[in-house]
Assembly symmetry: C2
Homo-oligomer: 385 residues x 2
């Protein structure tokens, strides 16, 4: 396999973008990405675009063709990939494998979701759960993650204050991210006092409904080295699935698909979590970040909550998590999220993360998850020094 | 890139399968495929599954995870890919690239669609057209292909009798296919006298609404050579997109995305259409087969209709097309169709096509198309002799 690098990124603002259509969102992110990479449209050979449910949200399938056409890329090989909220991570992995195979040199990995445009978001998102056993019986995603939170609290003594610490920290980071949907700091009191969505999760424990798109361009490392920019290599790619129904898994306080995907990415890279400097973690709900930091091995099982409360995942903590603001503050356009995580890694590793820049990070990890843990991708990026 | 082979196939019956769910369809095709290949479930590392619109048809996204779980493949890396009716071809290409890259040895390529289960098929399928400019204004797929037929008739003098010849020939082939939805011979009189769907297309010019699933297993050629079976190599893979709206393309009597995808597959293989013995061609409507045989270069522009009427594409003709019965007689579960085409190539090249077997074919081509020509994949398979 050839070594592959990320050579450019583009990101729309995230938010309720009522005057920007699905295809326009993608076209904006794509144009910004190609300009950032300095690569002409006719050099791009292929694209993989993550999107969860454009059919339900806006009545449009055949998605990669229409998006690439409107982005000025008519003719290239373009495929949409879907794995619920991990669609972006799956698109990134497919693009990575195509460049690694040698079949193509310049492959775009994109993600997009238009969620504020008619269809009921709670219904659409519930199609990421098991339709026959979960969604049909009325379970929603806040409900599923509330069950995970209750199980984690029962097993480990995790507290509402620890959940709130995740939200407060991510909003503190998001306040430094000009693309974030909610770039504002919040207090623990605000989180704990917010209206309940599904006990023990309140409004500020949940990521928002978001429109947005993100793109990165991939190329062989030898090409990246000619650009005169920091070279950001993909050194590990892990992908795994599990039962999508929460009740089909052994212990609802864990999300084993995350550990499995991470194990595969670590095996490829020959590294462990101790070699990683920071991570973007799939915080669709505050409890998700706590469980995922445990599954990734950043903290021991049960220690994710205390670690968050102690500031260990803050920008100046021992292991910064979600410097972008995460899904919680930056927003969560589901198909775009996995690519937006890669954008944050790329920005941090190239020293372009503005007010939220970490001090000379060398390796970052992006963990993107589908549903309540039915799928997960983990990617590790390293900047050449 | 490593050389890659198809080492097994599985196919459900195609039809109105009211007592078989979406996940059951896939599980059946997957089990048959792994048994045919003689590969254990825990050897399979990855899967790509083509499906156009399970979200709209049965309210289920996050599709690859749930399908692989129910097929006994929990844990593997599994991704759904979508490119409307070319979803299966896109899944096959992604699986091919993953094995070619060296990242995985055993990768499943599957496709599935459950179309007879509640949602309105005409609405669901129209999401493969341009939602904002075509579907929103009421155009359906029979309407779009009727426009293509009218344009082809006006430019080349193609006749209803020539269209009918495609249907008659494909049903003659399908009558020999035990998995076909409509395995029955029909007469030209039946086709020409059938109720009109969208002039000049009648009921027998249109492929049916179908439930079904198909799977093939891919592996490195070196592994395939150890199996003691004919070795079927993938020697060309082409993928292209175009504007999905018919009015955005220059000449509605042509479908240029087919020629572009074919050109890419021929370039990789170093072959031309003259080196190919037979083809599965995307006959979602009779006119589609005529235009696609021209775009592939099997016949000159305008000669597809006369060639069909002269029997040149029959099983005993100079270039057999759709020995399986095609989408027309075999059925068209849209996400599964591209994989089912590969199954027919594999069956013919390994001498397992039963009553429709060609005499010692060496190379076959599968052309799978999305919408009215917004995307296309072309794959060339060759049996080692």
């Amino acid at each position: 396999m050839r070594d592959v690098a990320v050579i450019g990124m583009g990101l729309t603002p995230f938010g309720e973008l009522w005057d920007t259509s699905l295809r326009d969102l993608f076209a904006i992110a794509c144009a910004d990405c190609l300009e950032d990479a300095g690569v002409a449209r006719d050099q791009v050979q292929s694209a993989y675009i993550g999107c969860m449910t454009s059919g339900l949200f806006v009545g449009q399938e055949h998605l990669a063709s229409v998006l690439c056409d409107y982005a000025g890329l008519r003719g290239l090989a373009a495929t949409r990939v879907e794995s619920a909220c991990a669609s972006g991570g799956a698109a990134f992995r497919a693009a990575y494998l195509e460049v690694a195979s040698g079949a193509s040199d310049f492959v775009l990995a994109g993600g997009v979701e238009k969620m504020n445009d008619g269809a009921d978001a709670t219904y659409c998102l519930a199609t990421a759960a098991d339709q026959e056993y979960e969604a049909y019986n009325g379970v929603t995603f806040p409900g599923l993650y509330a069950m995970i939170a209750k199980a984690h609290m029962a097993k480990h003594g995790t507290t509402p204050q620890q959940l709130a610490a995740v939200a407060v920290k991510n909003h503190r980071n998001g306040a430094k991210n000009p693309k974030a949907q909610f770039p504002l700091e919040i207090s623990e009191k605000t989180v704990l006092g917010a209206v309940r969505v599904a006990e023990p999760l309140g409004l500020f424990d949940c990521s928002p409904v978001t429109d947005g798109a993100a793109c990165v361009l991939l190329a062989p490392v030898e090409f990246a080295r000619k650009l005169g920019k920091p070279v950001v290599k993909i050194i590990g790619s892990g992908h795994a699935t599990d039962a999508i129904a929460l009740h089909d898994r052994k212990d609802p306080s864990t999300i084993p698909v995350v550990a499995l995907a991470a194990q595969r990415a670590f095996k490829q890279s020959g590294l462990t979590i101790r070699d990683i400097d920071f991570a973007e973690v799939h915080d669709c709900f505050t409890i998700a970040e706590i469980v995922c930091t445990e599954e990734l091995g950043i903290f021991e099982p049960g220690q994710g909550g205390p670690a968050a409360a102690a500031g260990k995942t803050a920008r100046d903590g021992e292991f910064p998590v979600n410097t972008s603001g995460g899904l919680k503050s930056k927003g969560h356009p589901v198909g775009a999220t996995g690519i937006a995580q890669i954008c944050e890694l790329y920005a941090q590793l190239t020293g372009n993360a503005g007010g939220r820049q970490l001090k000379n990070p060398r390796r970052g990890l992006a963990q993107n998850m589908g549903g309540s843990g039915g799928s997960c991708t983990v990617h590790i990026l390293e900047v050449e020094q």
